[in-house]
Amino acid sequence: MAEFINLALLALLALTALRIIFLKDLFSVVMLFGIYSFLSASIFLNLDAVDVAFTEASVGAGISTVLMLGTLALTGRKEKASKHSSCLPLVVVCVTGAVLIYGTLDMPPFGDPNNPAHQHVAPRYIEESLKEVGLPNMVTSVLASYRGFDTLGEVVVVFAAAIGVLSLLGIRRQKDELVADTGLKEHRVLHVIAKLIIPLIILFALYVQFHGDFGPGGGFQAGVIAAAAFILYTLVFGLKRTFVVVSPKFLAWMASIGVLVYACVGLFSMFKGGQFLDYNQLAADPIAGQHYGIIIIELGVGITVFAAMLSIFYAFESQVERSNVQ
């Protein structure tokens, strides 16, 4: 059954991708991209990658799609027909694809437990991580502890993107009289429902943040979901009212502080005489140290991701509202 589902999802995915090539209405392209993201998340889920599915659904289908839609509101939704021939790209793509297909011929068979990838490094994570790190979710153990440095880099990437977007677009406060009608003002039902479910979403974000050690989830996903709650609020009520709750200045501080929290755990463990990010040093008992370390760095990750994603969205949204006023 799993194979059948996999095949069906892959087929739907291929159809979506093909359809996107030929669509000229960019609004539809972005919506289909949302579908594409959802489908690929389902495939990740079907291939046992629950954490990845979680992230792809919230980041790919959520944040990316919303940002793309915001961009379209500013740039228009029709792609004009291209004049230059599409021959060269096709050749490039076919050659690349052929090389890849050639490469697949020596690949280890799909799902075989004897594949080299499952034999060399991974067994230690699977067998020892419960003893060495003390968390049932191996993905969190590897992410936060064994490969914690990667994760630090990733947080920094998000921070860098936020810096970039802020420097490019900036967040401007509108003059009061100009922003009278932002948000989906007409939709009364939406207002009520949004107010009802936003607390639920934030609650869920907290659950994901702190349950990540035991089930799918963790700092990234929690940060994105919390940001999504405020994105929903902004979409429905407009930027001005969201700024009262979370101001852009505050977000800039949060984004920086999240990175610092993460890095300071590393520095602290150096200070205690260990290597950078060696959580064993954080407490007398190594397992407890690992646990503290992971909770703190996940918190740092969550803070930065939340703040960075929300400021990026603010930047786009303030552009949209500005252009709408003009």
């Binding site: 989906l184 007409e186 939709h187 039902v189 939406l190 429902i193 009802l196 479910i197 639920l200």
Partner: protein, 111 residues
Amino acid sequence: MLILDIVSALLLIAGGFFGLSGAIGLFKFPDFYTRVHSASVTDSIAVILIMGGLLLQTSFDINTAKLLFIMLFLMLTSPTASHALAKSARHGGLASMAEAKMDEQENNNNG
């Protein structure tokens, strides 16, 4: 246990049936507003039935709570989304079938 299983199976099958009928309605109904109607009404009933069926499969633990949460969430958001969509379409000037006919008649009368 057996009775629960049977009830659950019946609920699931009914849910699947309503889902399918909604999807067919998406193609068969004549104008946008009727299609919204078909999609959103069957959506809600399918959610209730399938979630209900799955609820009976759990052993009343955290999964039950999560299923209830999903159900509550979908019951809140799915009709809201349909409503907002229909309202936007209305706002954007999309005519229903009846209106389109009336317009046509008016045009004919005027012309």
